[in-house]
Amino acid sequence: MLKVQHKGFIILIFIFIASLTFSNCNNGDEDDSQNDTIDSIDLQNPTLVKVNDRLFSIPSPFQVALLVKDSKVPFDKSLLNPTKNQVNYSTNYKQALNLGIYGADLSYLNIYEQLPDAASYFAVVKVLSKELGISSTFDEKIMKRIENNNNNKDSLLYILSTIYRDADSYLFNNDRNEIGLLILAGGWIESLYIMTRILHVNSNEEILSRVGEQKHPLDNLIELMRPYYGNISDEFDVFLEELVELAAIFDGVVIEYTYSEPIVDELNKLTTITSSSKTIINEYQIQKITEMVDSIRMKIIN
């Protein structure tokens, strides 16, 4: 028995040494020369793998904030989740969702240059990050950068998005992918909420289209969350079921897509995608989406 264990131990030693050796393999040589064409790759039997165990990406709430501002819609603080609600979030589920919500609120505040309010939202994001065990994303270096750039909205948005990306990476690397998903979901719900509330008072065509365009991101979000159904908590399951109900409303939204040849500017490394899409969404659908999002969000923030 001891001999078998001894052999197994030696194998492990080899694995350890190999992992250290091959960890440097990707550094490769410094030769950057590349042929213009490469040998054909055998795509007969490619193996598809998921990225981050995910097949889908969710559009950033930071970008929605930019769209809202560009649409000349006035700032409305009442749209945001008050910071005082943070003390009510005692479970990882609520903390993660609201970390996403507050992140979306923060980007909204930042875009509208409401920087004193943004400071209090940053504080809440920091507290929730700590409670979720991802406070390393708010290390001293990051806090210093925030302080040094507290009058520069562009830099703050850049820093904020980097924080969320680092948090996403940390959670994935520590097998806490479901927390990362809840943060994404919270940010997405808040973005949709802000857009639907704006439509309530200001019938803006661009925002109307953007709401309809959430059809596929919502489907993607549901697919991301589905593997965790029944394995996290009852709250998680109810949330997912509500998203599925919301997706049923979005099913009626039509997105017509027409392909068109892209235009490449090789010098500037830019490709313009000229394919077109048209979103067809009616008042009734907007109303139902608004009611449903409102209801889902209420449960999350209260």
């Binding site: 264990q5 131990f9 492990l12 350890f16 992992s19 960890s23 393999c25 990707n26 550094n27 490769g28 040589d29 410094e30 950057d32 590349q34 042929n35 213009d36 490469i38 040998d39 795509l43 490619p46 598809l48 793998v49 998921k50 990225v51 981050n52 097949l55 889908f56 990406s57 559009p59 950033s60 970008q63 992140g103 562009d154 850049y158 998005s161 980097t162 969320y164 990306r165 996403d168 990476s169 994935f172 690397n173 940010g187 953007r210 365009e213 596929h216 991101p217 993607n220 897509y257 392909y259 490449v264 490394k269 830019l270 490709t271 313009t272 995608i273 077109s276 899409s277 048209k278 979103t279």
Partner: protein, 140 residues
Amino acid sequence: MNKFSYYFITVLILVTVKFGVFGQAETQIKFCSSNLTNDYVSDGQQYISLLNGDEIAEFRATFYGGSTYRVAACSGLTNGNLIFSVYDRDRNELFSNRNYKNSPYWDFKFTSTTECIIEAQLDPKGPESGFAILLIGFKQ
């Protein structure tokens, strides 16, 4: 050496291997993010997959019309090891960096909101396995 020592060292090795692997990924993400310059705001996510041989990493993303995005794609700590391609939902190829010397990043301007499929694979001329790292940013 007694049994306890074997178990302890075994656990230590397994933990070191795990964190060693992800430590490399973190270093490579930092390298890759140098291609996402300050004028591009991260979408708040990072896309990473460990690839072997001809495996292809794939994921779907929605890009909003009227916006310009940058996709940075890296494997390892030198540029040019990762081939990435962008397709529309009907699998029309919109772009592939294999046509541009495996450029580590490319910008995309979308006139309309488009659902895309992004695939990444290791350059067959490079290492046989490695992390495929993709970062997406949008222009402010």
